[in-house]
């Protein structure tokens, strides 16, 4: 069972991973990505962050990303939990947890999902620094990370 949630409330890492794998002896590997809020970005100290999203489209786009991962790899379960609203340094922002029979699929699918989430899911970060508020700019390195997976499609190395 896949779970996709967008929420203001904090999430519990252990509880999410336990729920992902509970009662499924076909799972041989769980790979997780936990994204955290840094207190430093683009040369400035960041005091807080507000995450905005497009309710409805966010869940739909995350669902499409997970569905694409499932087409590419043999997976037993996926959990994506993303927070919105006010966040402070050290707060978890996003959890991607992927369960599969073997580690290879889980590693690749987890990285694929976070790479696609960063370039496709409609979330926007606004940082509060000592000199005021600013919207976070999209990074070319994130586009490059996403493009790798599409290049793999072309060369047939994706699986």
């Amino acid at each position: 069972m896949d779970v996709i949630r967008v929420q203001e409330a904090p999430f519990q890492f252990d509880a999410e991973v336990d729920a992902l794998r509970a009662g499924n002896p076909a799972i041989g590997a769980v790979v997780t990505f936990l994204g955290l809020m840094r207190d430093f970005n683009d040369g400035d100290r960041v005091l807080a962050m507000t995450l905005e999203h497009y309710p409805g489209m966010t869940e739909k786009s995350l669902g499409a990303i997970v569905a694409e991962a499932r087409e590419r790899w043999e997976l037993q379960g996926v959990r994506v939990v993303h927070r919105v609203g006010e966040l402070r340094p050290e707060d978890p922002i996003v959890l991607v947890a992927v369960a599969s029979p073997h580690r290879g699929e889980a590693f690749r699918a987890c990285e694929f999902i976070i790479d696609y989430l960063k370039t496709r899911a409609p979330f926007w970060k606004k940082e509060r620094t000592e000199s005021g508020e600013r919207w976070v700019e999209a990074r070319h390195s994130d586009d490059a990370a996403e493009a790798r997976w599409r290049d793999e499609d072309l060369s047939g190395e994706g699986c």
């Binding site: 995450l51 496709r120 979330f123 970060k125 919207w135």
Partner: protein, 81 residues
């Protein structure tokens, strides 16, 4: 009518998050009407800053056709995760 929505930096720049508009044939036609308002509207949609478009919550190009009742969203490149 179609429903327009604006998010993040664009929402702040335009001073509104949503509005209703008379039906249009395509996203391009909506963009023409918005630019014709001048001021911040012309600035926001003059092509200088990247603006992404979704119709009924699916990302599309500016040539995408529209039907009565559609929801058209405009927003900057995404920065989640």
């Amino acid at each position: 009518m179609i429903r327009l929505r604006y998010f993040a930096r664009l929402r702040e720049q335009l001073g509104t998050g949503s509005e209703e508009m008379a039906p249009a044939a395509s996203v391009a036609e909506v963009l023409e009407r918005l630019r014709a308002r001048g001021g911040v509207w012309a600035e926001a949609f003059d092509g200088e800053q990247t603006v992404l478009v979704a119709v009924n919550q699916e990302t599309v190009g500016v040539d995408a056709p529209l039907a009565d009742g559609d929801e058209v969203a405009f927003f900057p490149p995404v920065t989640g995760g």
